[in-house]
């Protein structure tokens, strides 16, 4: 579903690469936590998957496409298969909840009939059934994040990327969001979530990929936020490669 082959990403005017020879594979239907300190390369990872950035070295395959060969004209169509959620929600303040979600479908050219059907469905799924005419500023943070998630999944993407989706929320609200993400994952969507939230990672017991200084130092199934016991778990051939590299680093 997503495969990195010794991917290095350097930014100009910064000698230390954001990602350094990262190899790993994420399969369909997985729920993956991406953990690591700020600046360890989590956001670069997500941006590379979205093809917002090009890798300096190495190859990335997402949904059977090699991103390096994807022309810029085709990138928008590629992105329609991905949903993205951010820490700061990124809702349009002058649009209602319904319009925020519908906007996604409008700009990719879906019919009015389809929008009228799909938007209430997805709002119901994220638990905002009665609030479609509210504006974002009238909602709580948790509700705003639900709108953002609804917007991300309304087009039924194969992959959902979440960049610290609970970063601005209190623990109880975060738990609600995680339940929602889990339900989305159960529906078959691959979920990749970058987070600093120790409690959530420890509680969910899902695959954890830990990044330090742009390298994978741990790739563990059913892991916690921190584990010393199993530093690196090999995952496929490329995963094992990255593992040894990660340890030696």
């Amino acid at each position: 579903m997503i495969r990195f082959d010794t991917v290095t990403k350097s930014y100009p005017r910064n000698s230390r690469p954001a990602l350094n020879g990262v190899s790993m594979e994420i399969l369909k239907g997985e729920f993956v936590f991406l953990v690591g300190a700020s600046g360890s390369g989590k956001s670069s990872f997500l941006r590379l998957v979205l093809k917002e950035e090009k890798p300096t070295k190495g190859q990335i395959h997402v949904l059977g496409q090699q991103l390096g060969t994807l022309t810029s004209r085709k990138v928008p169509y590629f992105r329609r298969n991905l949903g993205v959620v951010f820490q700061d929600f990124r809702l349009l303040p002058q649009k209602t909840v319904f319009d925020n979600v519908a906007f996604t479908l409008q700009v990719i050219g879906k019919s009015r009939g389809f929008i009228q059907e799909a938007v209430p469905d997805v709002l119901k799924m994220v638990g905002l059934a009665g609030k479609s005419n509210r504006f974002p500023h009238e909602l709580s943070g948790g509700e705003q994040q639900r709108v953002a998630i609804a917007r991300a999944i309304v087009n039924k993407p194969a992959i959902l990327l979440a960049d610290e989706p609970t970063g601005n929320l209190d623990p109880a609200t975060s738990a609600g969001i995680m339940t929602l993400l889990e339900r989305i994952n159960l529906g078959g969507t691959t979920v990749i979530m970058a987070t600093h939230d120790v409690g959530i990672v420890d509680q969910m017991k899902r695959r954890v990929i830990e990044l330090t200084d742009g390298r994978i130092v741990r790739d563990e199934r059913k892991g916690g936020y921190q584990t010393q016991a199993v530093p690196v778990q090999g995952f496929g051939l490329s995963g094992a490669d990255s593992g040894t590299e990660g340890v030696s680093a």
Binding site: L50, K51, S72, Y77, V107, R112
Partner: protein, 305 residues
């Protein structure tokens, strides 16, 4: 559905940016008016060339007994000299260039002079003897007057050989210079207009960067994202172009066909409204194309993947 959305986005952009849009309209209006005026001047020059070169002749003036210029020695050109000149005009060297020629006697010259200078005190002073006899030569191709001037200038009895076009050339040079000045001014202002459109679109894109970011995130195609902005620029510039078109038509209608025609009469072949209506679509196309190009370039940095 999508068309409605694109037009709605463009309209909201125009509303949000109304002051910039007004300045784009004004700058395009002024610059394209200059462009239009320059084109009209060129039309006028061509019109005058066509009108006058058709009528322009080469005048071979003969000596009178008060004249000492040219080959004259204060002696009237004799009949033999006139015959020699006429022989030259009909000779095999010159004949192919000449469409027709006619001889103008003292009396005919005096009659023409009286008509041309009607009401002037000069008419009372002049007598037929003062006005030289001449051959009026109409050439097949008016640009080949030098052939005639070179072969006839030195012949005895010829006072001068003058290509009438040279009188016109001075005026045409002035008009030409004016039209180049207008073009120069217009291109400077067009540069300003293009930069202003680019800035306006960039501003508009900046104020909508959240929407653009989300559109890119959810996979809106580049064309879908950029079209409202390009439409915004083109729309503002089209209003300016249409105003310029109105100004050009008004200029021709009220200044050229009104004031100029009343003052100098249609003796030089003035341009008309049909010429103005030819210029208007040029201005509209130029304005629209420039705006589309500069808006497209301005928005492209927001679309980089």
């Amino acid at each position: 559905m999508r068309l409605g959305l694109v037009l709605g986005e463009a309209a909201s952009g125009l509303r949000r940016n109304i002051t910039m849009v007004i300045s784009v309209v004004l700058v395009t209006f002024i610059s394209l008016t200059f462009v239009g005026a320059a084109i009209l001047l060129q039309f006028q020059i061509n019109q005058m060339k066509g009108y006058w070169y058709d009528r322009a002749q080469v005048t071979v003036s003969l000596c009178t007994d008060i004249d000492s210029s040219g080959t004259c020695a204060q002696a009237e050109a004799t009949q033999e000299q006139k015959d020699a000149i006429e022989a030259q005009l009909t000779s095999s060297t010159l004949a192919p260039f000449i469409e027709r020629y006619e001889f103008e006697s003292h009396e005919q010259a005096y009659e023409n002079f009286k008509v041309s200078f009607k009401g002037s005190p000069l008419v009372d002073l002049a007598t037929p003897e003062f006005l030289p006899e001449s051959f009026r030569v109409k050439l097949n191709d008016p640009t080949q007057a030098t052939v005639l001037i070179e072969s006839l200038s030195g012949i005895p009895g010829v006072q001068s050989v003058v290509d009438q076009r040279q009188y016109l050339d001075g005026i045409l040079d002035i008009l030409n210079a004016a039209s180049y000045a207008a073009i120069g001014l217009a291109s400077l202002m067009l540069i300003a207009a293009v930069l202003l459109i680019a800035t306006t679109i960039r501003l508009s894109a900046f104020s909508r960067r959240r929407e653009i970011g989300i559109m890119r995130l959810v996979g809106a195609s580049n064309r879908f994202i950029q079209t409202p902005f390009i439409l915004e620029g083109v729309f503002a510039s089209l209003i300016g172009s249409l105003l310029a078109g109105v100004a050009i038509v008004a200029l021709v209608q009220f200044f050229v066909r009104g004031y100029l025609l009343d003052t100098i009469g249609n003796t030089i072949g003035l341009i008309g409204l049909d010429d103005a209506f030819l210029v208007v679509p040029m201005l509209v196309i130029l304005g629209g194309a420039l705006a589309a190009a500069s808006a497209g370039v301005a928005i492209s940095r927001y679309l980089k993947v």
